[in-house]
Subunit: 377 residues, 2 copies
């Protein structure tokens, strides 16, 4: 696989993502657990300028569902999913860093995934897409950087699943990463998180319109996705936040038997409705399972041996007290293990009340946490 | 409503519950939120002897799904759901107390519920059963005790939903209860627990065979119940227990796409399968919603005013650090409020690792917690 830049066609990028670029990695792409893809595409957006020494790159991996549109830019003024975090003079300072946010392999926002056309059949891969791991996500992103002529990254950074992908990147390409920033992530998935995600996947699979993954583009398990998103929201936020925010506020009871009695139920419904149709169900299944499968310890016979392969200068590990999906003890575990591996590591447990989602919403805490660390690099 | 003992028919009790007794409360039974039932039946089991003064009664309310068969007896040697807790010389000592465990109104183990025959139609109530509250559960149980000629109870005790029903009993019949024991329960449901239960109910309702509640006896939403039970298990246990118990133990991968990869997924499946068919779906919906609706504060304009109505001598409030459904701060809140209301209260936070279910499984901690308190009465 010799990566090569081939910005797609001469047609304008889709209006939905005018700042998005897509690179093709020509030839065979071998997946970690077997199977292969051809001419993998990797979508990304970028901000700030690559300096002459090419040593100011900050690579962002996303959580499961966001696109590469982390922030607005001249080409795309619509706010990104991390608008408050990323930009000129912001915590992830695009005056200083050339920031690249990559759409994960397997996702549905421009990178090759289950909804992409399988060149062998001329149809979507669907469930014929090979088993995906976060190491594959990292490898595809590495191919992207090579195709852009970027030899190394100053910092690889990711929240949630993105932190796992960032760890995978640092493990697979030691010596090409100086600094790791892990936000509300972990070295592996614990059984509680696996159980939650397994049930989410089962809710999608139980929807008859999933049809074993063989649904038509634009169709698919809407009801399953809606229910899975509700379970997601229950695991992403925190009991404390909801107690303060909703308490026992009552809903305007509708006519439906056993319908919403409390405002928190309406909140879940509105959040779930907004998600349905915005993300491909098969992509969800593949990426969700990839999180379960991830385990740093597989890279060399145990956590400590694996992390010894890293050639990082520094790391920042941030977590949140109220996170039940990536609990604080997993942040502590990662920070301790990095320290044992000889990486100068800052561990920052935050008292945010918004649970796992805090990195998206508790900007008062996450902005300085990330900003002050990056500023001292 | 003048309660009257009418042990049902002359036919033997069902073989499944040879120790079960069923009492009918003749006439109209007005439900708290509207609607009424006729000739309500209340099922119970009992252990130990009622003393001459009739002042040694200990009344147990159950969690959502157990029957009144809390322990074995001469009539029914099969182990009950609290076998290790209840019996001669055990923590709930049947040599000393006349113990009565009641099957909640609305349940499906002998007490009147949605699967009972509606005398008006000759068919099951189904979704025509009136809205159920835990105050109704308490009132029906009070009717049972009156019909048995028991004027007051020494102690009312309940875990989980049973603790709420016990509180409702003490609130509705002040002066008829001396002592309250609340295990992993609360004065009200917080939005996190409401969200979990709301989604469980939606999983049941989303199963087409629920048919708006109009399924035939023995039929019903098996798939919805299975999925709801999985979500239940995720909320009943704890991440710490599972991390120790399962870690990342792999499952024997089956052929199903996105099937179980990890042992924790097989565990959830086996627990869910065991539940399907063992509990009526409509009963589940009614009792689950009753937990959401419960709020001590509705009894007199706020929590403190409500608890001032209690005429308890003592209370024990036990909770568990790893409980995410009835979290420890809710136990503390209840204990503090009882104390402010003038009740001599012991608050016992336990470091059990099995989450909400600890009262069923961490017998090493719960037996002495309950036993030592009751022994000093």
């Amino acid at each position: 696989m010799k990566p090569q830049l081939t910005v797609h066609g001469t047609a304008p990028a889709p209006a939905a993502f005018p700042a998005r670029r897509i690179v093709t990695l020509p030839g065979r792409f071998a997946m970690r657990l077997g199977g292969e893809l051809q001419d993998v595409q990797v979508a990304y957006e970028s901000w700030g300028r690559l300096n002459a020494a090419k040593d100011n790159v900050l690579l962002i991996f996303t959580g499961l569902s966001p696109s590469a549109h982390a922030a607005s830019s001249g080409e795309d003024p619509t706010p990104g999913w991390w608008e408050e975090m990323l930009g000129p003079d912001k915590s992830i300072n695009t005056d200083r860093f050339h920031v690249i946010c990559v759409n994960s392999l397997g996702s549905c926002f421009g990178s090759t995934g289950p909804s992409s056309l399988d060149p062998r059949s001329g149809k979507s891969f669907g469930p014929g897409f090979p088993t995906l791991t976060l190491e594959d996500v990292a490898t595809a992103s590495h191919g992207l950087l090579k195709s852009l002529g970027i030899p190394r990254v100053r910092c690889v950074l990711g929240p949630s699943m993105g932190g796992m992908s960032a760890l995978a990147y640092a493990l697979l390409f030691p010596g090409e990463v100086d600094v790791l920033v892990s936000l509300s992530s972990a070295t592996h998935s614990e059984p509680f998180a696996i159980a939650v995600r397994s049930l989410q996947r089962e809710l999608i699979r139980s929807d008859g319109t999933w049809a074993g993954g063989h649904y038509s583009s634009g169709e698919g398990p809407k009801e399953g996705m809606r229910l899975a998103r509700k379970l997601g929201m229950i695991s992403y936020r925190s009991a404390r936040e909801w107690a303060e925010r909703f308490g026992r506020e009552r809903a305007n009871a509708g006519g439906e038997p056993f319908g919403a009695e409390f405002e928190v139920e309406n909140y879940l419904e509105s959040r779930a409705q907004a998600f349905v149709g915005a993300f491909d169900a098969n992509s969800y299944l593949y990426l969700s399972r990839a999180m379960d499968l991830f385990d740093v310890a597989e890279h060399g016979g145990g956590l400590d041996k694996a992390l010894k392969r890293l050639k990082l200068q520094q790391a920042l590990v941030v977590g949140v007290e109220t996170d039940i999906l990536f609990p604080l003890h997993q942040q502590h575990e990662l920070a301790e293990a990095l320290t044992r591996a000889g990486v100068v590591t800052q561990y920052l447990p935050l008292p945010s009340k918004q649970g796992h989602d805090s990195f998206l919403v508790d900007m008062e805490r996450f902005r300085p946490a990330v900003g002050e660390f990056l500023a001292q690099l």
